[in-house]
Symmetry: C2
């Protein structure tokens, strides 16, 4: 068998990750022991949360150790099995990380049926990002018909699903994205009511125009300047599910937002709800999510777009790009072919 | 009939309210028209939210107009009635405001049965402050047995009920109050597990010691330095119901708290819930509140303390004191005798 490859974290990035924070290593593909399977990675999912794993600041999950393989969700093929629960050729959702091959004891693996949907969707619209959108919007945001929902990174894996689900629920969906092409796509393909460019110096004024009845739900996945523009427009009883702060992940110091002094006063006088979550907090909703989202995709109510980088060697560069919005759609790395 | 009196807002306070922001006026007691009643005030409730009504900053309620009578909840006696729903001698909960007499069309009046409890409790432990504690703690805070609940202004009308209800629910209750006497009362009479003095320069360190398992619920009614001390101790999935910010009400500019830059990151990584509310948001729970709280008082599980200022003329001074914690227990103004 050819050599396997993995991407190792060499140093904890200060500010933006750079190529020298990663090292690509070759290693001999291991053999599965009793009860284990050998996985070959087909798709590696790159997601903003990974920036947090590179840092040892306190968070909801332990960091990747320096010298360790970068963590990540994958779509993998079982190429050797000593576990009766899995057969050679099975396609599984795994957390094999940034590597071409991995050993698993089978725990946490979920079989994927390639007949139901392209297998890459298991780490996208039918996977963690889609379920983040679904649970955060419906369990915390609770959009009502006629309300206004705002989401940033609106052409991305999470944001695109948030806005489309908001439309399904009868709400007005306003997206924020980087550049004209993404905004056109969000409006014309995804069917958001409007989409604004976060690079526009007049963002705050344009957002106000785009939300004539204020904002009832702000799905927070970016932080920074977008929240600055959103905050004064929040209506009484607005809900702010918080699942990410990508605009701040590379910050070496956390600047207080402009409204920081007024934040708690606004929470009180507007009776805001601000609530952080991660997708696993709502694991019990997975069945509902898969049922609803599959149906919405079949009905054409939810569309998705994938942005594919070829080859594991290019994963660090793709991740650096993801943090700057260089991707257009769900960021994937094609690590290996669909069938070996 | 003797002259009636009322307290009028003369100017919007800048910073701390001062005596010259109020004027005491005499007026001829009005006569009730068809469908109306004439009320005589027995008890006027003074509550921190009134500071907001003196300001024209955006809030959940319209401000008292300059030249208008200060708003407030009262326990009043019907002394003349042209409304078939009310008889002379009825004791009612009203929003008659800072005055000795008022006309009402009967809307919003609730009869009080003097046999059930001292009538003053209708604006205290069995009224708005008690229900603020009950609904905010149980609907948003949701303390579980073994969790830690922290509340400031712990000897006050709201805080004292919050801690005692937390104890009933099996949680650890830690209060924060101003000075040794109040802290002793909170610990020894109200049965909190601990109580700290907010004037203690070592508050943050002592709070950490008093909450060895961190803080699961912080019932926010003061803001300022207390929240600074609480924030780093919040556990994953902590809940922060926000019903008041008394420490900041007199601020002429809102300073960003120390943790402002890290606030949203903590909301995310700790999955915090921060939610503002006012008691009327949970009006549907009033029946449950009255049933539970009456029972807890009868059983001795909830105690309360009243702090009485004599005479309407002293209401402005009492209110200025309330904002500085000069009261020790629920602040009331005795405007007239129980029975005329």
């Amino acid at each position: 068998m050819a050599q396997a490859k993995r991407v190792v974290l060499v140093s904890r990035p200060v500010g933006e990750p750079k190529a020298s924070d990663f090292r690509i290593e070759e290693f001999a593909p291991p053999s599965p022991g009793a009860g284990e399977v050998l996985l070959r990675t087909i798709w590696l999912s790159l997601d903003p949360y990974m920036r947090g794993r590179m840092s040892d600041a306190p968070s909801y999950a332990a960091p990747v150790p320096v010298g360790g393989v970068m963590e990540g969700g994958t779509v993998s093929e079982v190429i050797a099995s000593e576990n009766p629960g899995f057969a050679k050729g099975d396609i599984v959702l795994s957390r094999a990380g940034w590597q071409t091959h991995a050993i698993s004891d089978g725990k946490g693996l979920a079989k994927i049926d390639p007949k139901l949907a392209p297998v890459s969707t298991a780490v996208g619209v039918l996977g963690m990002p889609g379920m983040t959108a679904y649970t955060g919007l419906l369990e915390i945001g609770k959009p009502q018909a006629g309300e206004t929902v705002v989401v940033a990174a609106a052409s991305g894996a999470v944001g695109s699903a948030v806005g489309q689900i908001a439309k399904i629920k009868g709400a007005r969906a306003v997206g924020i994205a980087g550049g004209k092409d993404k905004c056109d796509y969000v409006r014309n393909e995804l069917g958001f009511d409007d989409c604004l460019d976060h690079r526009d110096p007049a963002l705050a004024a344009k957002l106000k125009d785009a939300c004539p009845k204020g904002i009832d739900v702000y799905f927070e996945n970016v932080g920074g300047a977008v929240f600055e523009a959103v905050f004064p427009l929040l209506n009484a009883f607005a809900r702010v599910p918080v699942c990410g702060l990508i605009a701040q992940y590379n910050d070496t110091e956390t600047k207080a937002p402009k409204w920081a002094g007024a934040m708690m006063r606004n929470v009180l006088t507007k009776r805001l709800t601000i609530r952080g979550f991660i997708v696993s907090d709502f694991a019990a909703r997975q069945g509902d999510f898969l049922r609803d989202m599959s149906q919405w995709i079949r009905e054409g109510k939810v569309k998705y777009r994938e942005f594919v980088t070829e080859g594991l060697d290019n994963a660090p560069g793709a991740f650096m790009g993801l943090l700057k919005g260089a991707n257009f759609g769900k960021q994937l790395v094609r690590v290996g072919p669909d069938k070996a």
